[in-house]
């Protein structure tokens, strides 16, 4: 009985200490996504990503609409991290993007019980781009190739010779494609943001 008070005091002091520690690293550590920006404003994404993807989910499954920016596959593509061997880490693994905040707020999602938590291997020919994006990518590559081959440009002649010696590896090409697609998706998105948000928030 007599020892009770000091115990309670200790406990209180402990709790206080814990509080300060928690305040120090306020919030979860969220791995950064690829590219410049998300498919919508970062603030907006933080608050509304769950509604966006669940809306997208029904659009795709029921109405077959697949060219929208809020696809879960796209989230994985941009937000997945790679380990030291450049191997993708499951996006729902501990500390990874989709579990960073969720662990912090004790939210739990089951999406990656079914959905691939890493992008498909690079050798997958069927990347599933919308046809328009594919065409745009072809055009982009053709343009770039033409630029690189411009006569008289020593540096590009040099780089072409280098490229012939060490052909670019698939991963690089894939990254270039992805960067381009991100731009494409964002352009498409900003072109119709007001209307699209309207329908999303309906």
């Amino acid at each position: 009985m007599r020892f009770r008070l000091p115990h309670v005091m200790l406990l209180l002091i402990g709790l206080l200490l814990m509080n300060t520690v928690a305040a120090d690293n306020s919030g979860p550590i969220i791995p950064k996504g690829k590219g410049e920006q998300c498919v919508a404003d970062t603030d907006f994404m933080r608050r509304n990503h769950m509604d966006l993807i669940v809306h997208q989910r029904d659009e795709t499954v029921i109405r077959g609409i697949r060219d929208e920016p809020f696809s879960l596959a796209e989230c994985v593509d941009c937000h997945v991290q790679t380990d030291a061997n450049a191997k993708p880490i499951r996006i729902d693994a501990e500390g990874q993007f989709c579990s960073s905040c969720h662990t912090y707020v004790a939210a739990k999602i089951d999406c990656f019980g079914c959905h691939a938590a890493v992008p498909d291997p690079i050798d997958d020919k069927k990347l599933g781009f919308a046809p328009a994006a594919n065409e745009a990518i072809e055009a982009y590559l053709a343009r770039n190739l033409a630029e690189n081959n411009s006569v008289g440009d020593r540096s590009s002649v040099e780089s072409n010779r280098l490229a012939a010696k060490n052909p670019p590896d698939l991963a690089q090409t894939h990254d270039a494609l992805r960067t381009f697609r991100q731009k494409h998706v964002q352009a498409a998105h900003s072109a119709r943001t007001p209307l699209h948000r309207e329908s999303v928030l309906r």
């Binding site: 109405r63 077959g64 994985v76 089951d110 019980g113 959905h115 691939a116 599933g128 046809p131 209307l195």
Partner: protein
């Protein structure tokens, strides 16, 4: 019964009251919607051009005279497309397509055919589903919405073709294009991801563009059998409709009047 009832005066006044109340309801709805009329209209136009419509009805024609006994190219193609691997329990492994060998006991004639979801117009699996997860897309493709599937398996009971599988064990290494997981039912999707990817939207365009073939049809062709034709059953000029007419292709269990989207030549 109906006509006599509505002739009696009390029923007539009840009907009038119902009409009046309905009118009130409409006015109320209009008032509520008033402020949102413009955006709603704007959305309606967007919706018209986006998403699948009833303009097409996708289906398959299986030519059993070309389907080879013992060949399972379509099954392998399907499994590869959707990342279906054995979990080590063949009894419960998912089967989106299975090969069936039929024998006519009188003539001794053997035939071989792939059996999969028949994409019925009046699908029993859709009727019995308690959550609406088993549904028919506007373009006739019968699907499971795994997001709302509770794994009750009524649809499996209702399906006359035993076309659906339940996933009993956890699955890993899924493909991006084919999310699959424990506790839900699944079956042939007619490769909707391929149909959708080949620009079937806006709906008007797809007539000009060729729609990507499902994986099973592609594998069958690659194996030089060419027994599976995919196409639009709503288009009288399509290859599939022409071939169905030419060969008088049949439905399996036509007696059930389900108007299947998968037809078989020389059953």
């Amino acid at each position: 019964m109906k006509s006599t009832a509505s002739n009696s005066p009390s029923n007539a006044s009840a009907a009038a009251r119902r009409r009046f109340l309905q009118g009130l309801g409409t006015i109320g709805a209009a008032l509520v919607a008033g402020s949102a009329v413009l955006p709603a209209n704007a959305q309606a136009t967007v919706k018209e051009i986006k998403g699948v419509t009833g303009k097409h009805r996708w289906g398959l024609l299986i030519d059993t005279t070309k389907c080879a006994t013992g060949c399972d190219a379509c099954v392998r193609g399907c499994n590869a497309e959707h990342g279906i691997n054995s979990t080590g329990n063949p009894d419960t492994d998912a089967q989106w397509i299975r090969k069936i060998e039929l024998k006519d006991n009188l003539t001794g004639q053997l035939s071989s055919l792939p059996m999969m979801c028949q994409h019925c117009e009046s699908a029993p699996c859709v009727d019995v589903c308690p959550t609406g997860a088993s549904f028919k897309r506007a373009d006739g493709v019968v699907l499971v919405n795994k997001h709302t599937c509770i794994g009750c398996r009524y649809c499996m009971m209702a399906c006359p073709y035993k076309a659906r599988s339940f996933i009993h064990e956890p699955i890993t290494d899924q493909l991006t294009r084919a999310p699959r997981g424990k506790g839900t039912v699944e079956s042939c999707t007619l490769c909707v991801h391929r149909i959708d990817a080949s620009g079937s939207q806006p709906a008007e365009k797809s007539a000009e563009k060729t729609v990507q073939q499902p994986a099973c049809a592609v594998s069958c062709k690659e194996d030089a059998h060419n027994a599976i034709t995919f196409g639009d059953l709503n288009d009288p000029d399509s290859e599939i409709v022409q071939a169905i007419e030419r060969s008088q292709a049949q439905q399996v269990r036509a007696d059930l009047n389900l108007n299947t989207g998968v037809r078989y030549t020389r059953l």
